[in-house]
């Protein structure tokens, strides 16, 4: 009898001693992480901990001062064009081209990422339906509310079906119904094999949707571990231990 061994998830993202100075201070220091396909990692930290800088570097919007980024085994810093097809990024506050409609926005994002013709049209229609953006499709992005912009940004990040989804505070300005829909969407993407890394201030967000949590403090990684569904008090203790004392002694205690 032969036993079928499920294929082990491959490493999509590998950060190797990533460092970056920003605004005159060390925003990220020697950060090493790995993320497998289908895994959802939450990046926690107080304001200024280096979460957005880390995600910008992973997304390819910012170059690190030192260290390496491997994307599906390839050197991302050597080939930044990998970002075009492999990464979907929702930046903090979801910036938009105010002069374009929602549909035009998705088209522009698709074209920038090399999508064309019917391939682009089908992907656009599918993502508009999936994120229920039909009523907004012909509206100018400049007049959307922050929550609507957030959904548009998410649609742009998902349009080209990336292998890695980078979400910077995706639940910002979303109402509770939309937050629940966002969580379902993230789980759906992970089930389809997409690796997801998201930053948040909300511990409940991490316990609800993430498999792993990494806690950053003053640019360094202070904690990296699995998240259990009923793990909220322990996570809270770890987070506050790091945020208040700069170490995760509280967790050890």
């Amino acid at each position: 009898m032969t036993t079928i061994v499920p294929a082990s998830p491959k490493t999509v993202l590998q950060l190797d001693r990533l460092s970056r100075r920003r605004a005159g201070r060390q925003a990220v220091r020697e950060l090493s992480l790995a993320l497998k396909s289908g895994e959802v990692m939450g990046l926690l930290g107080v304001n200024g901990a280096g979460k957005s800088t880390t995600l910008s570097m992973i997304a390819g919007a910012l170059r690190p001062d030192s260290g390496g980024i491997q994307l599906n085994g390839e050197d991302f810093l050597e080939y930044p064009e990998l970002a075009r097809r492999e990464i979907g990024w929702l930046p903090e506050r979801a910036p938009v081209w105010a002069e374009l409609t929602v549909e035009e926005h998705l088209d522009a994002h698709g074209r920038l990422r090399g999508m064309r013709g019917s391939n682009l049209r089908q992907a656009r229609t599918a993502i508009i339906e999936r994120l229920e953006l039909q009523p907004l499709a012909r509206r100018l992005a400049g007049v959307l509310s922050q929550g609507q912009r957030q959904r548009l940004g998410l649609a742009c990040a998902l349009l080209h079906r990336p292998a890695l989804l980078v979400l910077d505070e995706p639940a910002n300005a979303l109402d509770p119904v939309q937050v629940a829909a966002l969580r379902a969407l993230i789980r759906e993407q992970a089930a389809a094999g997409t690796a997801v890394i998201l930053s948040t201030h909300l511990l409940a967000e991490v316990t609800a949707v993430c498999d792993r949590v990494a806690i950053l403090h003053e640019g360094t990684l202070r904690h990296d571990g699995a998240v259990l569904a009923d793990d909220h008090p322990a996570l809270e203790q770890t987070f506050f231990g790091i945020a208040m004392n700069g170490s995760d002694k509280a967790q050890a205690a």
Binding site: R84, P91, R111, G114
Partner: protein, 251 residues
């Protein structure tokens, strides 16, 4: 292909921006008014000129002066239109979206430049339509009009490159417009002092834009003049690319 995607995105943004339409409407109305005045003067002097077989024609008295008016307007229109191509993106936080799509800085700059240049060439073409509607009604010096049009196109291309470069360095679009205006005016009039002193050659005259545009407006096409415009535009675009690449490095 990403170059075309950037150009298309910028073109779309230009077309829905009220400033582009307002500038087009006001300047074309001004040029049309000037065209009728120039045409009126041309018709009034037609009998006297009939006695001079080699006297100035329709293109000399209407076409080229009209293009001269457009050149003057360009000093204001190009900085206003180009001010937000990169500075506006930086302010809105949309520039990192292009970096994250793996688009190199050179293609971002070139794509935006092509879109801006497309608008300006359309503006030039609409202006040229005014004298061209009378091409069958008068003797038309095609060579002189082509040379003058080429000169204007090169001038617009150079001013657009300067506007894109200023926009890449400025944090605010208004600063970019002011810088582009000052640089363009300085380039135009850098040799004024030398000319007042009776010096008509040398590096200072070579540096001035007017020294290279005036011969083209007179119908004289020289490769040295063409090279001056191309070199200056290339330099400005290279500086803009360098600045944008540094933006990605610095964050």
């Amino acid at each position: 292909m990403t170059l075309l995607a950037v150009a298309r995105l910028e073109w779309r943004r230009l077309l829905v921006r009220p400033l582009a339409w307002v500038l087009a409407a006001l300047t074309l109305a001004w040029l049309a008014w000037n065209f009728t005045l120039l045409l009126g003067n041309f018709l009034a002097g037609q009998i006297q000129r009939a006695a001079q077989p080699d006297g100035p024609g329709f293109v000399d008295l209407v076409g080229v002066p009209l293009l001269g008016q457009l050149a003057q307007l360009a000093f204001l229109v190009v900085p206003l239109l180009g001010m937000s191509v990169i500075a506006g993106e930086r302010r809105n936080g949309t520039l990192p979206l292009m970096f994250a799509a793996g688009v190199p800085a050179s293609r971002i700059v070139l794509g935006k430049y092509l879109a801006l240049l497309g608008w300006l060439l359309l503006w030039l073409a609409l202006t040229l339509m005014m004298p061209l509607v009378l091409m069958h009604a008068t003797h038309f010096d095609w060579g002189k009009l082509a040379a003058a049009s080429l000169g204007l196109a090169l001038m617009l291309a150079t001013l657009a490159a300067i506007a894109v470069a200023c926009s890449s360095f400025a944090s605010h679009p208004a600063m970019a417009a002011a810088a582009a205006l000052v640089i363009a005016l300085a380039l135009w009039s850098v040799n004024l002092g030398a000319q007042l002193a009776g010096i008509n050659g040398g590096a200072i005259n070579w540096l001035a834009m007017s020294s290279h545009l005036q011969p083209l407006l007179r119908g004289l096409v020289s490769s040295a003049d063409l090279a001056w415009f191309v070199l200056l535009a290339a330099l400005a675009l290279a500086l803009a690319t360098r600045r944008l690449a540094a933006d990605r490095e610095r964050g």
